[in-house]
Symmetry: C2
């Protein structure tokens, strides 16, 4: 594993995952541009395999393993898109993925992991139970732990989305991404600041899960405590690997209200006719709430994913 991810790692990741990942489209929308007074370029990771950018990092990691490591398989504790992504990447490599998931995880997430062939181990919904269960699997099978974001291979993989975006739209004034654990954001920040130094990188985060915003302000990792947001991909704290990259390369982190996230999500659904999850709508929400002035700018936005429970849409509650 590389100690610190660099542009070279992102370029290598792009080559490594090319046979497996989609090169997702970059879409524009005249209606939303008019609302923002800017030109927005949406990188559609909702169309990525498993419906989220997470497949990029998972595929880069799994296809970076030695044959010996691959034979022992991979393990992660996650109930979200990373779990499904790791399961699919492992299946494509022909190795086993073990997923430790709290017993109270939503049925839709259990089903997604099972569909991609992941072996699920349930545990009690506590951090301690999760770590114990994971350690037991590593002891028993020798499998390789793949952290959802605090891993240089994951960060390099996630950075390939911004790489593709910049290759298609080199003249961007600003690139925005949502931030949870910071895997997507740190990969994005490396790609953008190295490839296009004049392009700024600004992240967006829910007001009610503002740990990354505070971390950047306080210059230390402020843990995420009781986050309470509809953006369920953004609940975690920054990591030891992601935090310094973000501190060095991200200009600032803007916040957005829950109402703003839902409104932005609905605009994307209604205007662009594409399905994005709440986390993906966070940057546009911040723009529409005028938490950041993008007037006249060319702005790239990473739409992080599209996995939504159709039975529980936020405008039907």
């Amino acid at each position: 594993m590389p100690a610190r991810p660099t542009l070279d790692h992102i370029l290598a990741a792009a080559e490594r995952i090319r046979p497996f990942a989609h090169r997702t489209p970059v879409l524009t929308c005249a209606g939303i541009d008019a609302m923002c007074g800017a030109s927005l370029f949406f990188k559609c990771e909702n169309f990525q395999k498993v419906g989220a950018f997470k497949f990029r990092g998972a595929a880069n990691t799994v296809f970076s393993l030695t044959d010996d490591e691959a034979a022992r398989g991979v393990v992660t504790h996650s109930s979200g898109n990373h779990a499904a992504a790791l399961a699919l990447a492992a299946r494509l490599r022909g190795c086993t993925a073990r997923i430790v998931m709290p017993s109270n995880a939503p049925a839709i997430k259990k089903a997604a992991v099972a569909e991609y062939g992941g072996i699920v181990t349930y545990c009690a919904p506590t951090l301690e139970a999760r770590e114990t269960a994971t350690a037991a699997l590593i002891a028993e099978h020798g499998c390789v732990l793949v952290h959802p974001y605090d891993d240089a291979r994951i960060i390099a993989g996630q950075g390939t989305a911004a790489l593709e975006l910049l290759r298609e739209q080199p003249e961007l004034d600003l690139v925005m991404a949502p931030v949870g654990g910071g895997g997507l954001l740190s990969g994005t920040a490396i790609a953008v600041t190295e490839l296009s130094p004049r392009t700024r990188v600004i992240a967006a985060e829910p007001e009610r899960a503002d740990d990354a915003h505070r971390s950047l302000r306080e210059k230390r990792i402020v843990p995420s405590v009781d986050p309470d947001t509809i953006a369920d991909g953004l609940l975690t704290s920054l990591g030891e690997q992601t935090f310094p990259i973000i501190l060095a390369r991200v200009e600032r982190i803007v916040l957005v209200s829950e109402r703003g996230i839902v409104a932005a999500m609905r605009h994307i659904w209604e205007r662009m006719k594409i399905i994005v999850e709440p986390s993906a709508a966070v940057p546009l929400g911040a723009i529409l709430e005028q938490r950041i002035d993008v007037s006249g700018m060319r702005v790239g936005i990473i739409l992080s994913g599209g996995n939504v429970d159709m039975e529980k849409l936020p405008w039907n509650v």
Copy 2:
């Protein structure tokens, strides 16, 4: 107005609307392919201007008008996608669009027409009131009536979607489209049978609005009486212009249940992460209900539109 639309009219329409209409993408989905045992190529007219293929025909018609006709403006009676499409096309040409709409039309449709600058005249929700109101506008303003489907310029415009599809995917065994009044289907059928004689054309229609199916069987226009389907774009009867084209060029019309339409729509939303309206899901619904065997085939499907009331999704009722 050309008497009977031909491939040449479709080619001319493609040139005419090129500056105004989107060249929509053709998407594929490994998950849905696996469900169908076929390779499906979805022409995404949900991404078209105003969210539906209707913009193609409307733009072709409006930009075919003489300057004198354009100065007098256009009129139609419709409450659906055609009305919004005509309003936008007229605005782009710099002329007036008058839309006769029943007073009980859904608020969302009134808003769409208003947003694109159409001038709405409300009438009682009867055929007679609609025709009287339309005739009055024509008498007063001399405006040009643009029928939603039974017009050679409209048919030629709608055929440009299949033209683009075949240019991108020439080796198709079959092209499917939904059928309501037959504007999209007849344009599609002309484009496909002329450009690729080996490619079959089959339409799909809701069981509970099966007038086109019966018309093809009885070789006469069977009117649509009390259609009762969620596919609200497919309620109308075939027209004098569309029927003979469909009779000559469409192999057959397969039916699909309401449950099948909703299931197909949900698969497209969940798997492809795109928003389509119920009418657009009708061909895939027929395939998934095995009303037609497409095993091993390469099938083009026109996804006709994506205008859905997000407050009233069929799986939330």
